[in-house]
Symmetry: C2
Subunit: 423 residues, 2 copies
């Protein structure tokens, strides 16, 4: 375990007991204020830490005197691209600066004024410039549910599903940061008894996912083994892969989802490093049939991270409709990245790979309204007396994720988005 993960550490910055961001987390994001242009930050408790300012004050000089440039960017890409040797050293140094017994910044109010802001005083921005975005389909329960509903309960999984991590290319341009409003998409839908029609989607859904961010590039032709794969993963974020089920159903054969997904995807503002998630490693699924040699892996490469989704009507309280866990992944991130590059496809810093909907084995752990309401046949009762089969206009969908180990809670903040009526 890295020093920065030590559960006995505490910070001179106040951290509430239910905070996602104790000193053991140290995720990376980007913020701006009226006075400060976009720059890279971390967060402890509800205090946002301006890393460009810390670098300018010389706090990282022993690691790399050019870090100020990497932190004075609109995205964390340049920082990630420095490699884990540097980024882990930065994480450890941040841990050290904010540890309760270190007086360097603790006792310097003037420097604190340059470095620290409260989260409500800043605007969090999209943290990653996403090059290519790939969406996998790696929860067996989700794939089984979808196959049962739309195809054949006896043969719910398609023949390839247990042999490779099925995935497809998604739209990078429309990935937005938590808090961005989404307009209900319009598109073609096909009624059962007539020609296709055009209009606002009537079956707007969320998909509960997590996504990893690539931190090291490969060259065209290069492949990454499962043993190497996590070295190429900088960290993980919460991800809502918004989906219009009616548009999807009509368009997706034979080339896959397109406009049903490309109108928006919402990510949380903080990228939690793989290193911070070390305490949450857990065993993966037994894979039967045996996978081909290039997909075999050893060690614990799943992560025990609790996930939940709430729907909040405009004038109501958030109502939790799903409690799942990132450990419900049949295919690990390492297998996904290995498969992705086995044909020589190159990856770049900032590429994102989402998990696909993460459904658990029980109905209360299903990761989409399609599954929760079982195609609309089992509506969800909301506290205000209304019901939901899918997502209504003016609903806000809020995703959260966290793990707890050794008494330390490492969380992801939230990925939330409000649905506005179609334009």
């Amino acid at each position: 375990m890295l020093p920065a993960n030590d559960p006995s550490l505490s910070s001179w910055i106040n951290v509430d007991s239910d905070s996602d961001f104790p000193i053991q987390n140290i995720p990376f994001g980007v913020f701006q204020t009226e006075k400060k242009s976009a720059r890279v930050a971390t967060i402890i408790g509800d205090t946002v830490i301006d890393l460009a300012a810390l670098a300018q004050l010389g706090y990282f000089n022993e690691i790399d005197s050019n870090l100020e440039s990497s932190f004075s960017q609109s995205y964390i890409n340049q920082f990630m691209g420095l490699g884990k040797k540097i980024t882990n050293a930065v994480r450890n140094r941040i841990s050290n600066i904010f540890e309760k017994n270190n007086p360097e910044l603790r006792d310097n109010k003037e420097q604190q004024a340059q470095v620290l802001s409260k989260i409500h005083e800043v605007e969090m921005l999209l943290p990653v410039q996403v090059g290519d975005y790939t969406d996998f389909y790696s929860s067996r329960e989700h794939a089984t549910n979808v196959g049962t509903m739309f195809r054949d309960p006896e043969n719910a999984l398609l023949p390839n599903w247990l042999h490779l991590p099925v995935g497809y290319h998604g739209r990078a341009s429309s990935i937005v940061v938590s808090g961005t409003n989404i307009h209900r998409p319009k598109g073609q839908q096909k009624p059962n008894d007539g020609p296709p029609v055009f209009g606002p989607s009537r079956l707007l859904d969320f998909e509960l996912e997590m996504a990893f961010v690539v931190g090291q590039p490969t060259k065209l032709g290069q492949s990454i083994s499962t043993a190497e794969a996590e070295d190429y993963i900088f960290g993980i974020t919460l991800f809502n892969d918004w989906s219009a089920r009616d548009i999807q159903k009509w368009e997706y054969i034979p080339l896959g989802p397109f406009l049903a997904k490309s109108f928006a995807s919402t990510m949380s503002p903080w990228i939690v490093t793989l290193e911070a998630l070390e305490p949450f490693r857990t065993e993966g699924y037994d894979q039967d049939p045996e996978v081909l040699p290039y997909l075999k892996y050893s060690g614990k490469k799943n992560y025990d991270i609790k996930l939940e989704v709430a729907i909040q009507p405009e004038d109501g309280q958030p109502h939790v409709v799903c409690k799942s866990n990132f450990k419900h992944m049949y295919w690990t991130m390492a297998q996904q990245l290995t498969h992705h590059t086995v044909n020589g496809c190159n990856v770049n810093v900032g590429d994102m790979c989402a998990s696909g909907t993460i459904s658990g084995p029980t109905p209360d752990s299903y990761g989409s309204m399609l599954e929760i309401s079982w195609r609309g046949t089992k509506p969800v009762a909301m506290p205000d007396g209304s019901e939901r089969k899918f997502i209504n206009d003016k609903d806000t969908v809020i995703m959260r994720g966290w793990g707890i180990a050794n008494g330390v809670r490492i969380g992801f903040g939230e990925a939330s988005g409000k649905v506005l009526p179609a334009l």
Copy 2:
């Protein structure tokens, strides 16, 4: 017709009669030399014109004194992003500078030495930083051929095909410029009589496509009408969407092609502007059934551009295996871009949208080996006595495209790539 398209124009630079690049073309690309870093260029005949140098010498001062910055880039994105008012003014000014009666540069050998290079003296680079890459499937003949081979000749087109331009997201990172060698990809394939196996693809194919490049961005939520769509298209390039048919067949259900395509796509180094292609506008297909109102368009939005594909064995001559035409597009580029954004999906400068394989009505116009050899049942006889069902190691696949109108040939150069053995 723009002044720059006037067929009576000729240049003081020599242009062979079979050149793709008369003074009426003026495409945009990026080159570097040992002495010059990457910069934006155009070409007349076989003379590459350094636009950064021309700007530095003040040749574009009446348009915009900051053009030197836009031309001193590794990609043409910044230049495209200036908008058609500027980019068309630049094209017209280039036409003027190189017109045979203009002495400005013609009579200044010292400046010519700074501006002009022969094509064999420079290295052409990938001209566009591609954000998102989308591949359509818009040739009716291609979709019919594929449906006939793999599904049902009586119902070759899937139900949605005539109602919307089917498309999917592709991989942007692996788009390479003409001349880049490609390694045969490895991946999972499924024999008919056993479990999946892993190894080099045995059915490596080309797909003859053209791709348009987005020159103006939209905001998330914004849609583009068919009447507006061409204003957002900067220009067009040749595109080889390399495909591994055996990998594709096993992986593509239900989410579409993934590793079968993502190992490489090859584009030509020059982007020919839509303005240069004005003389080649031609009527599109009658669309029956009638399309939904948002997909209707008026005017000539197809383009009569001859296309051909040659296969060149390592020690042999190029042998043409396909003669097709860009006019064989059931769905126009305007319809593609309108459909792409009708759900509010935003586009960025540098996004690319490829046509899908462009097959004509006759077997000699089919745009892939899959169709030409009809799944390998009709091998192509090569001049050296060998035959091809698909692409062999050490074959070079060469695509060319050009139109001729009013005696002027406007061409695209070539998109070529050599296949090296699997790594």
